[in-house]
Symmetry: C2
Subunit: 140 residues, 2 copies
């Protein structure tokens, strides 16, 4: 786990926290499941969609910032586009495909950020149905 991430990473994750916060206020944890009735617009997929059609070279010089450890689908999207570096706010509330990323040579930086952890636990507690739907689970 990175204990001293660079300034740029703090900035990237702060932007990602801000986006997640806005999304939470609109009724959704970290994606557009509710706003767009979407099963695939997680934060990371949304970010790729927002970026639009860009060159393979640009992806390979990018960093993906995400509040939460990426799920299997988002992990796969990072691998598809060979994004070389992923900065993750937290992986306590959910541990995604970090091992698969590392096995494929992706640099994974986990900030273990308290704001991210608080925001995600609050969301999971307040909206368990949305959360479990998001990760493909039945509510437990």
């Amino acid at each position: 786990m990175a204990t001293n991430p660079g300034h740029e990473d703090e900035l990237g994750v702060n932007l990602s926290i801000e986006e997640a916060r806005i999304s939470l206020k609109e009724g959704c944890g970290h994606n557009q499941r509710i706003q767009k009735s979407s099963a695939t617009l997680h934060g990371e997929i949304s970010a790729l969609e927002a970026a639009g059609r860009v060159s393979a070279a640009l992806y390979r010089n990018s960093t993906m910032y995400t509040t939460l450890s990426p799920c299997g689908m988002c992990t796969g999207a990072i691998l598809l586009y060979r994004i070389p570096r992923v900065v993750i706010g937290e992986n306590v509330n959910f541990m995604g495909g970090e091992d698969l990323l590392k096995q494929n040579g992706v640099e994974v930086v986990v900030l273990d950020n308290q704001d991210c952890k608080d925001m995600m636990s609050k969301f999971i507690q307040e909206r368990p149905e949305d959360w479990y739907e998001d990760i493909g689970e039945e509510r437990v």
Copy 2:
């Protein structure tokens, strides 16, 4: 490789071929990269989007039909939602995450369908830029 797929699978793949054919006529191989300027709406992700928000139980009783072996992102989406079975038209023009699917207990049926192979080779030959962008590669 399955040599004797069931009737239902032939039907599913025929529908998937039909969709890919329409998509090709509209200027795109098997997804909405061009129509929606999208970097993530591959055929499989499109199918999940079209299905909308459904229960985890429904995913776990579904089969994903796809003309072409699923890329890393689509493989990840199948794993996220624990879709237990994937029927693939062909994997000659592109070999995706089939090993990862099998390692995770997903049943993978490859039809080695000639229509799928012809359609994909034609697309790759006629629109190489779109194809390579789709799989996250620079044009070779």
